[in-house]
């Protein structure tokens, strides 16, 4: 296939691809996303390839390695077409059985199915799994259907139809109007209306303008942008080309962190394929519009996700933010008008253009339209990537999609918005999730991290963990951010190690206020959120640490006290044997002697918890 030079030719090519595909032809799809990769999908893929090669009937049966399906908890995931049978936690040795039983004979293998967590019934098809039922996968859904390295797969699901529509039946102004009408808000964290941004950039003086995709996702535990770039890179590129056409830009950059090797490879392949088919480069689809994209690999500094720091890094300078009184849409990369949106925002654009803003805005709340992909992790049964309509409650995400808290433990809080987000307590679990509601309760949407915490999580410790991350990732330019996060971390360490003072809470609040109010960029302005939100909702837990020197969640090691209950102690002596500092004394019970109950010398005890772990009789108590 050479370059496609008209919308009609694109449509013909799409029809040609579809006509060659028999929907009844068996196909084995294996998820090749990040989560499944970690649980060994590549061995499964190799096993399938070998089975297909060895077997006399293996010829003509396709195996497709797709992007992330989201249900990472249950990986490696395998879906057998045309029946769409979902097998979870598949091992390489299952490949032969799946092929012989299911692919050839259409029989379902019960043991590989997903069990409904409450009813216990076995679920055969992907869409019947509760994890997927409340989701609305308009951006993420195609990940599981396509091989990200094959542009034909993207074209087969209607890819680049939006681009064709934008280039040939819409003016740049109409596109901007449509995006504004859809009220697409930036998915990278700020929630700024993308249409307004595009319009300002379009109107900004200058011949050379840049379009940038921010793929510097750096929140611990968040990987939705990564999975989109890995699993469906063409959807991001299609969004960028439409945006560039609307703004009047001819050069684009994808700034992607180098720690995402598969994302770098897949977006690179996608760009190359687009150039070959005439979807990037000069005269795209014969429209006389020129646009090309280059990849810039980031070194992995969290702060480079901030727009001005990202542009500094793109220019080859140190990734340090600058003041934005003159916006980057007017003067950004190399002092030229630059429009930056994140991966997920760009991926929303083709959906808006194809469906139209009216249909798009039917999803979501008043101020936040469409869907949002969250990375649901932590103390929750179904960890993974979930795409939900804006306005869904936290309860629905945690319990209906996430399947609740494992081990029968109690829900305590959910942290949204990445490291500089806030912790939302149980009392707010019915909160509808959208940009404005999350900000109101002292957290934020961020790029969509969602960490569930149960009763065994110490909120002071959580605040300390995130503050430590931010302290290390602050670029160090502003006194308030560099010193503010450092001092907050220092005080939180004091509190968790039993040296907290009553005045520390006020000091933390004061420091948090100054850091948020006076720092230059978004990192510093949101850095105190973990501290301020945990103080706001869990002040008593701070007090327990400071006044009673106790950690209610039994996490802060220094504050723990171990004790052996003498009436429960069977005098077996196992605890004394494992104690690394010989802090436990007593007399072992023998046939001749009754022995003496064991005791812990609290002075010597280093609170390692070995005795607690070892005792079979629950005679060791932690306070």
């Amino acid at each position: 296939m050479g370059k496609i030079s008209s919308p009609q030719e694109l449509e013909r090519y799409q029809n040609e691809i579809l006509s060659k595909r028999d929907p009844h032809q068996p196909c084995v799809t294996v998820c090749g996303g990040t989560g499944c990769h970690a649980s060994g999908c590549h061995q499964v893929i190799d096993a399938f390839r070998k089975v297909l090669q060895d077997h006399s009937q293996g010829n003509g049966i396709n195996i497709r390695v797709t992007g992330c399906h989201g249900f990472c908890e249950r990986g490696p995931l395998v879906v057998i077409y045309p029946q769409k049978i979902l097998y979870q936690r598949v091992k390489p040795e299952d490949a032969r059985t799946i092929f012989e039983e299911t692919v050839l004979n259409g029989k379902v293998i019960e043991s590989l199915l997903y069990d409904h967590p409450t009813t216990g019934t076995r679920i055969v098809h992907e869409e019947e799994v509760p994890f997927y039922q409340k989701q609305m996968r308009i951006i993420f859904g195609n990940n599981g259907n396509i091989d990200p390295t094959r542009i034909e797969d993207y074209l087969a699901v209607g890819g680049y139809r939006a681009l064709s529509k934008a280039l040939f039946s819409m003016t740049p102004e109409e596109i901007i109007r449509e995006v504004k009408k859809a009220n697409l808000r930036g998915r990278g964290g700020g929630g700024f209306p993308a249409g307004v941004k595009w319009e300002t950039c379009k109107k900004a003086p200058g011949d050379i303008k840049y379009v940038i995709c921010n793929a510097d996702e750096g929140d611990p535990g968040a990987y939705m942008d990564r999975s989109l770039l890995e699993g469906n890179p063409h959807s991001v590129l299609e969004g960028m080309i439409i945006g560039a056409y609307a703004i009047g830009s001819h050069e684009g950059y994808v700034y992607v962190r180098n720690e995402y090797p598969l994302a770098v490879v897949n977006i690179g392949i996608a760009i190359q394929q687009d150039r070959e088919l005439g979807l990037l480069g000069e005269n795209i689809l014969g429209s006389k519009f020129d646009f090309d994209v280059q990849i810039s690999r980031g070194g992995g500094a969290f702060v480079c996700g901030e727009s001005t720091a990202l542009m500094a890094s793109l220019e080859g300078n140190v990734g340090e933010p600058r003041a934005k009184h003159i916006h980057t849409v007017v003067s950004g990369l190399w002092d030229r008008p630059s429009n930056l949106n994140n991966v997920e925002t760009w991926a929303n654009v083709p959906v808006i253009i194809e469906r139209g803003a009216d249909r798009y805005t039917q999803i979501g709340t008043e101020g936040s339209k469409g869907t949002k992909i969250f990375s649901l992790v932590g103390k929750v049964n179904n960890t993974g990537l979930v795409e939900v309509p804006m306005g869904i409650t936290l309860r629905e995400i945690v319990y209906d999609i996430g399947g609740g808290i494992p081990g029968g433990k109690k829900f305590k809080a959910v942290q949204t918005g990445g490291p500089s987000g806030g912790c939302i307590p149980e009392s707010l679990i019915n909160l509808p999730v959208d940009f404005d509601r999350l900000t109101e309760v002292g957290s934020m949407m961020g790029s969509g991290g969602m960490i569930v915490m149960d009763e065994s999580t110490c909120m002071v410790d959580v605040a300390k963990y995130f503050t430590n991350f931010l302290k290390d990732e602050s670029c160090g330019k502003c006194t308030s951010c560099r010193e503010g996060t450092k001092r907050m971390h220092e005080i939180l360490t004091e509190i968790t190690e039993g040296r907290g003072k009553p005045e520390h809470i006020d000091l933390l609040e004061e420091l948090g206020w100054v850091t948020a109010e006076t720092s230059l960029c978004g990192l510093g302005q949101t850095a105190p959120n973990p501290v301020l939100s945990t103080i706001r909702y869990f002040r008593d837990e701070y007090r327990e640490h400071i006044i009673n020197k106790r950690c209610p969640a039994k996490v802060c090691r220094v504050l723990l006290r171990y004790r052996i209950l003498s009436d429960v102690c069977t005098r077996c002596g196992r605890c004394a044997k494992v104690c690394p500092v010989k802090a436990i004394t007593g007399k072992k019970k023998t046939k001749k002697e009754a022995g003496e109950p064991f005791q812990i010398d609290t002075e010597k005890c280093i609170k390692c918890g070995m005795c607690f772990e070892t005792c079979k009789f629950e005679a060791v108590e932690v306070q």
């Binding site: 003041a323 009184h325 290390d472 670029c475 160090g476 560099r482 503010g484 450092k486 006076t518 230059l520």
Partner: protein, 237 residues
């Protein structure tokens, strides 16, 4: 010139100017550490905080990085601003408790004690030395390295600053005076950048007047007769 108001006083500023320079020119004192008119505003120390009221909305910002805009109202001494500045100077004082200038500034702002663990750093990371070296001298001898609280102003890889011409601009511009220049015999040393250069003797008076390396760099940059660089500044006039 663009008119606006600072603390009720009508003032005027250049189109590409910033609030701090206008305030200082108008005799309105705003404490600052990382600002110097010879280089671009940077906004690192966060001391020159002010409140800016624009279109009826007020926000706190650093005066050095805020552009001159017609009709804005700038408030330099509101309770909010003073409270924030006090915390900033306390944070800087905790970094460099031994520095006289910082101690004085803190005292003037009403900060008499430090509630944090005291460190014994000398550099306040304002970046002026590096910026002057880049923007004014053009030597690019030193740079910030690392990030967060490990941030440091150092020569490349912490070794000798091989691009340093020992001009001493960084010495002069440092607000806390921690960059030292020493001369002994025919050698000049910038101690902090581990740079020692041999000096040239003036053809007239015989005094050592500038490092050879510096004069060579200047020769490349300016079109002046070669002999110009053989004579010291005093003998030239």
């Amino acid at each position: 010139m663009i008119p606006f108001v600072i603390d009720g006083q009508p003032v005027e500023g250049r189109e590409d100017g910033n609030l701090l320079e206008v305030a200082l020119d108008s005799g309105i004192e705003i404490s600052h550490l990382c600002y110097n008119e010879s280089v671009k505003p940077y906004g690192a120390c966060r001391l020159c905080l002010v409140e800016v009221v624009r279109n009826g909305r007020s926000r706190m910002t650093t005066a050095c990085t805020y552009p001159v805009i017609e009709g804005i109202e700038v408030l330099t001494r509101t309770e909010k601003v003073l409270r924030a500045r006090r915390m900033i100077i306390e944070l800087i004082l905790a970094m460099c408790p031994g520095d006289k200038l910082i101690q004085d500034m803190a005292r003037k702002m009403g900060v008499h004690e430090v509630r944090f663990k005291k460190e014994d750093k000398d550099c306040i990371l304002c970046g002026l030395c590096g910026r002057v070296c880049d923007e004014v001298v053009g030597a690019h001898a030193i740079q910030f390295a690392f990030r967060g609280d490990r941030k440091e102003m150092i020569p490349p890889f912490g070794g000798e600053a091989m691009n340093c011409i020992a001009c001493g601009a960084c010495v002069i511009v440092c607000p806390v005076d921690v960059i030292r220049m020493e001369e002994e015999g025919d050698e000049r040393t910038i101690i902090r950048w581990k740079r020692t250069l041999k000096m040239k003797q003036c053809k007239i008076c015989g005094n050592y007047f500038a490092p050879w390396f510096q004069l060579e760099k200047f020769k490349e940059q300016v079109k002046l007769p070669k002999e110009f660089f053989d004579v010291c500044y005093t003998c030239r006039t």
